[in-house]
Symmetry: C2
Subunit: 285 residues, 2 copies
Amino acid sequence: MTYCVAIKLNAGMVFLSDSRTNAGVDLVNRFRKMTVFEVPGERMITLMTSGNLSISQAVVQELMQQSGSDDNSSLWNVNNMFQAARLVGEAIRTVYAHERAAFKDFGVEFNVSFIVGGQIGSEEMRLFQVYAAGNFIEATDENPYFQIGEAKYGKPIVDRVITPETSLDEAAKCALISMDSTLRSNISVGLPLDLLCYEKSSLAVTKFTQITVDNHYYQMIHRTWGARLREVFGEIEDPTWTRGGEGELDISTSGVARPVFAPRPHGSEVRQLNANTQYLAQGSF
Amino acid sequence: MTYCVAIKLNAGMVFLSDSRTNAGVDLVNRFRKMTVFEVPGERMITLMTSGNLSISQAVVQELMQQSGSDDNSSLWNVNNMFQAARLVGEAIRTVYAHERAAFKDFGVEFNVSFIVGGQIGSEEMRLFQVYAAGNFIEATDENPYFQIGEAKYGKPIVDRVITPETSLDEAAKCALISMDSTLRSNISVGLPLDLLCYEKSSLAVTKFTQITVDNHYYQMIHRTWGARLREVFGEIEDPTWTRGGEGELDISTSGVARPVFAPRPHGSEVRQLNANTQYLAQGSF
C-alpha cells in the first residue's frame, strides 16, 4: 500500500511519501509516489498518489502529456493551484473513462487518490486532496494537512503537533515520525522515502532528500522516538485502584461502576460481589 | 464505530472498550460493548464486540440464552476457552443463518467481530479474536493483543510498549493511551469506557471501572500524554539540510538525491538545478 502526508504551514509545505507497492504480499515492489512539476521561479507543483498503481501511473502520464499552450490546459501553464487540482481531477476522469468497462468486467475497483500542492506565481501556496471521482478538497488552517493511503497509524502525532505556525523543519520531523509509526505497524508501507520541503514563495524545489534505511537522521528518529515514548510512558503514573466497598455488596444497589454481567441461568439473579472486587466510583480511578 | 483492545500478559488480561455506536453521523448512541460471563472462583469470560450492532447484540443474546446443562453447550459450562471461542463463532453463524437472506436483499454487510478472553478453572488464560465467519485466532506471546473496530490510530503505542512481561496496571495505562489517541483522531469512538483488568487465576472480576469524562486518571492521561509527546517531539533535533553542491548542477550526472521531476515540454530536457537547492546525499540528512 502507501502512506503519503502533506502539510501546509505558514512557512511552506512538507511532502513525504513512501515507495512500497504491493499486489498481495508476494508481489512487493518499489515505486516512487511523488512527482514534481517545476518551473523554477514560476511554479512548483507536487503530486503524490495512492491506490491502484496502474491508475495512478496512467493519471501522471496523462498529466505529463498535456503540453498544450492554451491557458489552463496543463500543469505547466495553469494560472493557479485550483486549476491544477481541477486538471488532476480531469486526468483521473479521463483514465476512468478509458478503464471503466474493463475494470467492471474484472471486478477491479477504481481506487486512486492524489495529493496536489504547490504554488504558482504570486498566488498563495495551496494544498488539495483529489478523490477517485475527480472531485477535491482544499486544506485550511483548521485542517492544514492531508494523508492518503495507510493514514490512520500516523494520524495521532500529526493531530497533536501540527499547527500553521509549526516550522518547516519541525513539520518534516513530524512527518517522519508519523511515517515511522506507520512503517512499524504496517508492512505494506516501506522505505525509501521522498521528502520535499517547499519554502514559501521559493517557486522551486530547494530542499529534497530521499531517505533510505542508511539515513542517519531517520535512524535517529526511529531509535529516539520509540525510546523516548517508552520513557514518557514509564513516567506517567500507573492507575491505582481503590476499593468501592468492603465485604459483600449487592450490585443492584451499589453506586459503583460495574461491568455488564451476563445473567447466570439456574442461579441467583443477583450476582454477589466478590469480597476482593475493587469496583471503582467515577473519578477515584 | 468502536474501538476495543484486549491484552494478554503474564500477570493477567486487560480489556478496554468504548461505548459509541453510530449509524451515520446523525444517529450516534451509547452502547456498552463488553459483556462478562463470570462464575467467581470457576470462570471469567469477557466478550467485546464491534461491527453492526444488531448482529453483535443478537450474538450476545444467543450466547446468553444458551443454558444447556450438556458439557460445552454454553459459556457457563464450556470446559476451556477454545470451546468458548468456538461457541461464540457458532453463535455468530446462527445469527448469520437467520439474517443472511434479508441482509442480502437489503445489501447490508454481515459485519461483526468479537474479542473473547478469559480463564476457566485450572486452564491458562486465553485470548481470541472471532471473525464474522465464525472462525477465530488466538493471541500468543509474539502477538499478545487484539484490537477490533477503529484499531489503527491506537496500534503504534501498543506495538511499542506491550510485551508479556508488562504489568497489568501498565498495560491498562497503555490501553487508555491507545484509546485516547483513537478518540482524538476519530469521532466515531467515544466515552464512557469499560475497563476490566483481570488478575491471573483470580477467576473473577476483581478490577473494573467505567471511565467517563470526569475520571481523574483518564483526564491526567489525556492531558499529560499529549503534552509530554509534544515535549519529546520538541526535544528531538530538527533536521539540518546540507547543500549537495555549489552552483548549477546537472541533475543527470550529480550523485545526490533528486525528486522525480516531470519532464518539461518545449524546453530543455535536462533540468538545471536551482543554485540554492539543497539536494542531500544519503545519510547526510
